[in-house]
């Protein structure tokens, strides 16, 4: 399905890809800045794919799929749109387009997930899928401080082995999640590494994995407009993050 909407059969019903409405069923506070929204909807999606979430009169922005059924997103409050999302209460509605983009490809018997900040969001969906296919999943979670750690309990609940670290040393190891990756990679040599987080973290992950010959996939973020591979707003080194990504099996050069 890499050519959306490409149909030439006569008489088929018109199929648009306009936003669909969903009602917020549950609102779960995760950390002081991060909230999870469980919707009364379910979609077909692959881990790593994302939604364009629309709030009429506000804006439309990309968010990773945390769980496809019930459809769930987890949102860090960092600006105007995410603040508006955080004001939603159960019973209120939002709209979404998607699932969009190219997700993770699962491979290897034991995998290591590396999450910085809300990067844990798409990796949660990946952990769900990995568990269903019987893989051993290790998770390295990093955050500034203990109260910012996202999903340690959820990953443990899925049967993953979880390591945590905080920059201020308030919980788990002290330091960056990439330090944790380095020692885990040397101790366990995972079959594959999957990472999502800030660009600098992804760059470090790529360096560590390439130096050790470990295959890796990273989920990237760029400012998006169309979300459907047409406008070029999200282009990095000639690739469209919204359509060729957001998951890349190596970091695009110069990104």
């Amino acid at each position: 399905m890499d050519t959306p909407g490409w149909r030439i059969s006569g008489g088929s019903p018109l199929r648009d890809r306009l936003p669909r409405v969903a009602t917020v069923a549950r609102v779960i506070p995760e950390t002081s800045k991060v909230t999870t929204f469980v919707l009364d909807a379910a979609i077909k999606a692959r881990p790593g794919q994302f939604l364009m979430v629309w709030l009429p009169g506000v804006n439309e922005k990309p968010f990773s799929i945390v769980c496809p059924d019930p459809l769930t997103i987890t949102v860090a409050n960092v600006g105007n749109f995410t603040a508006a999302l955080h004001r939603l209460v159960p019973g209120e509605r939002l709209w979404y387009r998607g699932a969009l983009g190219r997700g993770f490809r699962l491979s290897g018997r034991d995998i290591l997930l590396v999450a910085g900040g809300y990067g844990a969001a798409p990796l949660h969906f990946l952990a769900l899928a990995a568990r269903d296919s019987g893989m051993a999943v290790r998770v390295a979670l990093g955050a500034r401080a203990q109260e910012d750690l996202l999903f340690p309990g959820r990953f443990a609940g899925l049967g993953c082995r979880v390591w945590t670290c905080t920059e201020d040393g308030s919980f788990g190891e002290s330091g960056l999640v990439t330090d944790l990756l380095q020692s885990l990679a040397d101790q366990h040599r995972p079959g594959s590494v999957y990472a999502c987080g800030p660009q600098a973290m992804l760059q470090a992950v790529a360096g560590i994995c390439e130096a050790r010959g470990i295959p890796y996939q990273v989920s990237m973020e760029r400012y998006m407009r169309c979300g459907m591979g047409l406008c070029g707003s999200c282009a990095v080194a000639g690739r469209r993050v919204c359509r060729d990504g957001p998951v890349f099996s190596r970091l695009p050069p110069g990104s």
Binding site: D16, R17, W95, R225, C226, M228, C231, A235, G238, R239
Partner: protein, 311 residues
């Protein structure tokens, strides 16, 4: 297939095939334009640059409403001063590939068009495309320049005075008499015409939200829905002028391109098809066009260009 010649020369610039990436599609930077060139485009058009930086409209900006797309992106661009650098790098990357670069631009006054043209010409693009037809660009009377033959001609004249580069004028379908506009810009010195820009404006309302989905409320329609209008516009223009025409609008398949060429187009713009069929669309269009030509015994595009205009 080797005996087929898909090349076309427009204003002295050679395209190895007639498929031109349309403006505003993927054309945000040198690397992505190089990718499109490598995936088989005959020429590429960069996004439209204006006199100064523009943020564009908030999202939603582009939607698939079923039979086509609607967009109101709002011409986001860093301004022509920054644009020159981007275009220089693009030109550098395209040169070894033999794929010409078309630089598109807009302004909000007639004089402004001349100034932006002078600046953008420093990047040395192969061709200029004057965007007088974006629904978001209006003259002081609230009309796009493309809506009035006099305004369209003034802009063309001003640009031709400012630079010696060949200039394509991009026309809007949203006019009563597109032939009159085409004749006016030809007389003012336009070297070619591209048509059409998006149709409309249109509107899509979400019936749950009870409001237009696009943040700008209205937007231009593109894709399969507009093809018959685009073909008619190209046909009308080609029957009125003798400068070359780049036919744009709803071309998804090689067969659609044949239709444009039969209406008189010298080259064919590709926009929304990049969404429907991906950036690989250029190679596929070339195969489909070649297949058609072989089956009909055509060796060159000129063998069937404009046949629909005769008789």
């Amino acid at each position: 297939m080797s005996r087929l010649d898909l090349s076309v020369t427009i204003c002295g610039v050679l395209l190895k095939n007639p498929f031109v990436l349309a403006s505003g599609i993927l054309g945000t930077g040198a690397a992505i334009l190089e990718r499109v060139a490598r995936s088989g485009a005959g020429a590429v058009t960069a996004k439209s640059y204006g006199p100064g930086p523009r943020a564009g409209y908030p999202n939603p900006t582009v939607l698939d409403w079923g039979s086509g797309l609607i967009n109101a992106v709002g011409l986001p661009n860093p301004g022509v001063e920054v644009g020159v650098g981007e275009l220089l790098e693009t030109k550098e990357r395209l040169r070894p590939l033999g794929v010409p670069l078309i630089a598109s631009f807009f302004a909000d006054t007639v004089k402004g068009y001349g100034e932006v043209a002078r600046t953008i010409a420093q990047a040395g693009p192969d061709l200029l495309e004057i965007n007088i037809s974006c629904p978001n660009v209006e003259d002081e009377f609230g009309q796009p320049f493309a809506a009035d033959p006099r305004a369209a001609a003034q802009v063309t004249l001003e640009v031709k005075r400012a630079t010696s580069l060949p200039a394509i004028v991009k026309l809007s379908p949203n006019v009563a008499d597109i032939k009159a506009i085409a004749r006016a810009v030809e007389q003012a010195g336009a070297d070619a015409i591209s048509a059409i820009n998006t149709l409309g404006p249109g509107m899509v309302i979400d019936i749950e939200a009870g409001r237009p989905i696009l943040a700008h409320r209205v937007g231009g329609i593109s894709g399969p829905a507009i093809r018959p209008i685009a073909v008619r516009c190209v046909y009308d223009i080609c029957s009125a002028v003798s400068i070359p025409v780049i036919g744009i609008g709803g071309v998804l398949r090689g067969q659609d391109a044949v239709e444009m060429i039969m209406a008189g187009a010298s080259a064919v713009g590709i926009g929304s098809a990049v969404y429907y069929r991906g950036p690989g669309v250029f190679k596929r269009l070339e195969v489909e066009l070649s297949t058609y030509m072989e089956a009909h015994g055509y060796a060159r595009l000129a063998d069937f260009r404009g046949v629909a205009l005769e008789g």
